[in-house]
């Protein structure tokens, strides 16, 4: 019984991280219909940014989140304006996908050259503290990361719901032409979307870096996980990302505990496949497109 509760708690904590790590991907997919393969780069880039801030400048990873988000915002903006938008305007659905792939290759190469391919981790002073709740034990770091993840999702949600930019982004996703006729500069909206998504990806990367060891090559994993989370929950909505992330977190820890670690990924991918076949728009459906 205790083991089950412990597993569920671990699963939820991990799921929260999967959720926040997927929201950027979800936003870009929902608004621009672009499968953004640079997503994992921004996640892992955030982890390395926090590593530098912590090991060189001695800044606590949590405090490095805001400045790193700013940097990622600027990089995301530039990346979208310079390479992705021109590809989107080619009209070929795969063109944008390929450009993001090419960009990811460049970035992962630069990360490897800069940081080497060896495994890194960030362990601030509080990283080995264990909280006990009866028989259940919880890593303080995981709990903190979970809380920060939820807070970040809430911030992004409010931005989309209540800010002027958020409204313009949603409108453009719903009808690009309709929004343009209202006087929206669609390109600026896409750049903004990409920049915001990148900032939140980097923030999630900091949290991941605090919890798990990482290498540059992990970027692929985080892109794929974002993919699964979004497919599971539904495209473009934060609720979908939350639901998908938590489900995936639970499934993956349950599989790990009761079937064995070798089956974790297989079960996750099977769920992805199954969801696609029965409910291609995810459990909650797309936030922006009518379901088929």
């Amino acid at each position: 019984m205790t083991a089950l509760v412990q597993t569920l708690v671990n699963g939820l904590l991990y799921g929260g991280i999967l959720s926040i790590a997927a929201v950027g991907f979800s936003l870009i997919f929902g608004v621009m219909s672009v499968i953004n393969l640079t997503h994992g780069i921004f996640v892992i880039g955030g982890a390395y940014g926090a590593l530098v801030a912590w090991s060189v400048l001695g800044i606590d990873p949590l405090l490095s989140i805001p400045p790193l988000m700013l940097v990622a915002f600027a990089l995301g903006w530039a990346c979208q304006r310079l390479v992705i938008q021109p590809a989107v305007e080619r009209g070929n659905p795969v063109a944008a996908l390929l450009v993001t792939f090419g960009f990811a290759l460049i970035a992962v190469n630069l990360l490897t050259v800069t940081f080497s391919s060896s495994v890194r981790s960030i362990s601030p002073s509080y990283s080995f503290i264990n909280l006990r709740l009866g028989d259940i034990s919880i890593d303080l770091v995981r709990l903190v990361a979970f809380g920060c993840g939820l807070a970040l999702i809430a911030i992004l949600g409010s931005f989309l719901r209540f800010s002027r930019w958020g409204r313009v982004i949603r409108a453009t996703a719903l009808s690009e032409l309709g929004a343009r006729l209202c006087g929206v500069d669609a390109r600026a909206v896409y750049a903004m979307t990409f920049a915001v998504a990148s900032a939140f990806a980097a923030a999630s990367g900091v949290l991941i870096g605090m919890m798990l060891p990482f290498t540059p090559a992990d970027e692929v994993t985080w892109t794929v996980y974002a993919f699964i989370v979004v497919t599971l929950g539904g495209v473009g909505s934060l609720g979908g990302a939350m639901l998908g992330g938590l489900l995936l977190g639970l499934v993956s820890t349950l599989t790990q505990t009761y079937l064995g670690a070798v089956y974790t990924n297989m079960v996750m991918f099977l769920i992805l496949l199954f969801t696609l076949l029965v409910r291609p728009n995810g459990i909650l459906g797309s936030a922006f497109k009518a379901s088929r």
């Binding site: 219909s33 499968i35 390479v83 021109p86 590809a87 080619r90 070929n92 659905p93 795969v94 063109a95 390929l98 450009v99 792939f101 090419g102 960009f103 990811a104 290759l105 460049i106 970035a107 992962v108 190469n109 630069l110 490897t112 050259v113 692929v220 794929v224 993919f227 497919t231 070798v262 089956y263 990924n265 297989m266 991918f269 099977l270 992805l272 496949l273 696609l276 076949l277 291609p280």
Partner: protein
Amino acid sequence: MARRITILLLAVLLIAALTTLPFFLKAFHIRVGLSIFLSAGFAVCWWLLAGFTAYYSFGHTAFVGIGAFAAALALRAVPEAAPALQLAWSLGAGLVVAGGIAAIIAWPILRLRGHYFTIAMLAVALVLGEAVAAFPVFGGSTGLALPNLAPMGVRVEAFFYWIALALLAIVMAVAWVISRSRLGYGLAAIREDEDAAQMLGVPTTRFKVVAFVLSGGLIGLIGAVYALNLGYITSDSVFRGSLSLEMIVNSLVGGMGSILGPVIGAAVMTGVTKLVLADLLEYHLAITGVLIVAVVLVAPDGLVGLWRRRRAQSAGR
């Protein structure tokens, strides 16, 4: 008619020239040629589905893996047979098993369109890759070894060079025949507008399934050769996302508009990677990335499209 004969003649000459090449080349360059033929073969098979129907699979490495493991397991059943028989037997196993599994998943998967199909194929590849890694029949994380089937006195790389060349010629011929057939026109109609095609009486489901099974089966065939050439396979080496991506990238770099696209793309990309970038190993990925971005932005219809545009321009002047 005269033009057809010229093209046929040129093709025969080219194949003859490529066949004799190993006698003049160093082992390293033969291996480069072999890599080009294998990746061109994969790209053409991927294009067989994507180029005709615009169903972009992101998981065709699944069929490479199926073909490879089918060949390896098939060879375990006949350890004593003559090498030539073993070769035929393992290639046959790659073709049939990959084609069979393609046939099984074709119907549910092909109901999905656009991004959904793309992602679903990725999931198929990931599931199979993980399953193969998890179950001991497939050697688990240690993988399976395959015997060396090259005849005595023939250099291994040259042997597989010839086989890969032959298979490339075969899959190109298959693609070419399809492009002139009713199937080809039906598939092109699906690419332009699937619903309209269906209303015009094109049996869209059947045509898509046929293209999918051919594509998967032929990749399995080449995948068997890929495995024999490696001599030793693991889940990671044959169910590899980068293999799927290479098929896509090569086809797009070359151009999706014609069957020459994937071949030229594979030749250029593999050639550049193995020959030009060999000394820049550290920056290999970044340079590949720059190439991909550049091609998409500068030559959206690929190198073949670029060449055609150039020619149309100079003809118009």
